[in-house]
């Protein structure tokens, strides 16, 4: 088990937070290397080639954003950001720079492990192909047939609604930022038109959710983006 277990790189300058992360990851079958500085993190990344990176956004010698960019320049390694509440802009920047997901401090171990698993699964999938059929409880998104069903009934979606849902399904379980959605669905020149996204999202929810204001499939992360939840 130990030989085949995945290696996680933890980049966190607070020692007790780093200890907690190490204990949690080891308890979930990972091996752990940790760094408390940005340059140390980059050196460890090169020498150890970890399967996943947990990155604190506030480091003493450089911000998490630049580390994200430097890692992304050479690698597709899954990166999960650790950030504080009220720093949505920081999270969005890191996500748009290529980070896979984020957790807001303080967080529980369940949430952290769930985010890591989703990020790892997506990374593994990038190498093969994205699945053609995504199932979230009663909701089935069949990308091959361009067909969406809820409890077996076909849901009639407009092209934009379908594209939004298919994009979220492709990133199942991961947050997708407003900018990413606008770029993918409308095009790169529409990244400021967040109201397009919001109005069409409201319409999509009306078709999928029993209560649009209390969504169970596509949740809103205020100031960041949307997430299609795993069942």
């Amino acid at each position: 088990m130990t030989d085949t277990s995945l290696l996680a790189l933890v980049v966190e300058d607070d020692p007790s937070m780093a200890r907690f992360l190490r204990a949690t990851l080891e308890g979930n079958g990972f091996r752990v290397v940790s760094a408390s500085l940005a340059r140390e993190a980059l050196a460890l990344f090169t020498s150890h080639n970890p399967a996943i990176v947990l990155l604190d956004m506030g480091l003493p010698d450089g911000d998490g954003l630049s580390v994200t960019k430097q890692l992304r320049a050479s690698s597709g390694v899954p990166i999960v950001i650790l950030s504080a509440r009220g720093r949505e802009a920081e999270k969005v920047e890191a996500l748009d720079a290529g980070a896979d997901d984020y957790v807001t401090k303080p967080f529980g171990t369940n949430e952290l492990v769930a985010r890591i698993r989703v990020a790892l699964r997506h990374a593994a999938r990038e190498e093969s192909a994205a699945p053609e059929r995504v199932v979230v409880g009663p909701l089935v998104i069949d990308r091959d047939k361009r067909l969406v069903t809820l409890d077996g009934n076909v849901i009639r979606l407009t092209p934009i609604e379908y594209k939004m849902l298919a994009l979220l399904a492709k990133h199942l379980g991961k947050v997708v930022t407003h900018k990413q959605m606008l770029t993918e669905v409308w095009g790169p020149s529409y990244t400021q038109q967040t109201h397009y996204l919001r109005v069409h999202m409201a319409e999509l929810r009306r078709k999928l959710e029993t209560q649009a204001a209390r969504p169970r499939f596509v949740t809103t992360e205020a100031g960041v983006g949307y997430r299609l939840r795993e069942s």
């Binding site: 967040t194 069409h200 205020a222």
Partner: protein
């Protein structure tokens, strides 16, 4: 102000001139004194001096014999002139002193109020930080020192449960303190975006999902996804704080209802519960900071609702509280909208998404 002073003296002259023979010079001197006094009481020192000087000149020219000259036949009139100048100087000086004193008193009241708030903050914070910390320390040391030998599984679960709960309290308190500081310092950066209010309510409910899992929450929102110009992150915080408040003050079986209503002029969000509601006289103060509901055994620094008010007012809106008929608390947020929302190009429904492939 000088103009007013001049006008007062001229008016006195105009009134007194036709009555000069009937009243006599002494009475007219009294009229001027009266005018000077009014000016000195109402206006600043400069205009009072001006009024006194002008009065002397006009009184001398128009009334003191020989009239319509500045000559003075009877030296007793010099006394009237002196009295006019003296009244102008003395009264205006006294008024100035009184005003300065009043301002100082106000300033020191303000300082005292700030001090009071600061010490209230300190005591609230130190109490609210210490209590959860004491619980966490106690529970954690028991788990550490006694090991598995003496703590049975059930006790361990209880201890760990209280560590988690209290840590959650601390997190909430710190978030509120930081938010309050931002509201107070005017550093609240309102980034308005066009967003349906129901989406904000949804984001708040998602954030509170774990805490609300055993509660009945009813949401009523219109079907039209009307856009409003608000800061979605800050506004979600308002809803979260109201939900926190409802969780804190109402029994677990009390349902929470959220209603969104909107038209061209603005939107309204109503959050209501079936808890104990408010006591008399409490409603007016509930949005002030450090004011908390008077319920035994409920901790909190009394910041959540003050933050709500800060955020809502930064959006040009109002928040109010009331007792709900039939029991419970009712919070109403009202935010006016000045601009009409941008248009979103509509889209034709594909005849059937499945046929498109």
């Amino acid at each position: 102000m000088s103009l007013l002073a001049t006008a007062a003296v001229i008016a006195t002259t105009v009134i007194a001139y036709p009555l000069a023979d009937m009243l006599g010079v002494e009475a007219i001197a009294m009229l001027y004194l009266l005018a000077i006094m009014v000016v000195a009481l109402r206006l600043a020192r400069g205009p009072a001096f001006l009024a006194a000087g002008l009065s002397v000149a006009m009184f001398d020219y128009f009334f003191v014999p020989p009239r319509l000259t500045f000559a003075v036949k009877d030296p007793r009139h010099w006394l009237s002139f002196a009295a006019m100048i003296a009244v102008g100087v003395v009264v205006s000086t006294l008024v100035l002193r009184m005003r300065t004193q009043a301002e100082e008193a106000q300033r020191s009241r303000l300082i005292a109020r700030t001090e009071e708030l600061r010490s209230a903050l300190l005591s609230a914070v130190s109490h609210d930080l210490r209590t959860p910390l004491a619980t966490i320390t106690g529970a954690a040391t028991r788990l550490r020192d006694d090991g598995r030998a003496q703590v049975d599984a059930e006790e361990a679960r209880a201890l760990i449960g209280s560590i988690c709960d209290e840590a959650e309290h601390l997190e909430l308190l710190l978030t509120n303190l930081l938010d309050m500081t931002r509201v107070e310092s005017g550093m609240l950066d309102v980034r308005r975006e066009w967003v349906p209010v129901e989406e904000i309510v949804g984001a708040a409910l998602t954030r509170m999902e774990q805490r609300l899992r055993d509660r009945v929450v009813e949401v009523r929102a219109p079907d039209d996804a009307r856009l409003a110009a608000v800061d979605p992150v800050l506004f979600a915080q308002v809803i979260v704080n109201l939900l926190e408040n409802a969780l804190k003050y109402t029994p677990p079986e009390s349902p929470i209802e959220i209603e969104v209503v909107g038209d061209e002029s603005g939107f309204r969000v109503v959050v209501q519960d079936r808890g104990p509601g408010f006591e008399e006289g409490q409603i007016e103060r509930i949005f002030e900071k450090f004011v908390r509901g008077s319920h035994v055994g409920i901790s909190g620094a009394g910041l959540g609702l003050a933050i709500c008010r800060g955020i809502v007012e930064a959006h040009g809106g109002t928040i109010s509280a009331a007792n709900r008929s039939g029991g419970g608390a009712l919070f109403t947020i009202q935010v006016p909208q000045r601009e009409s929302p941008p248009l979103v190009p509509s889209e034709v429904l594909e005849s059937n998404a499945s046929e498109a492939a």
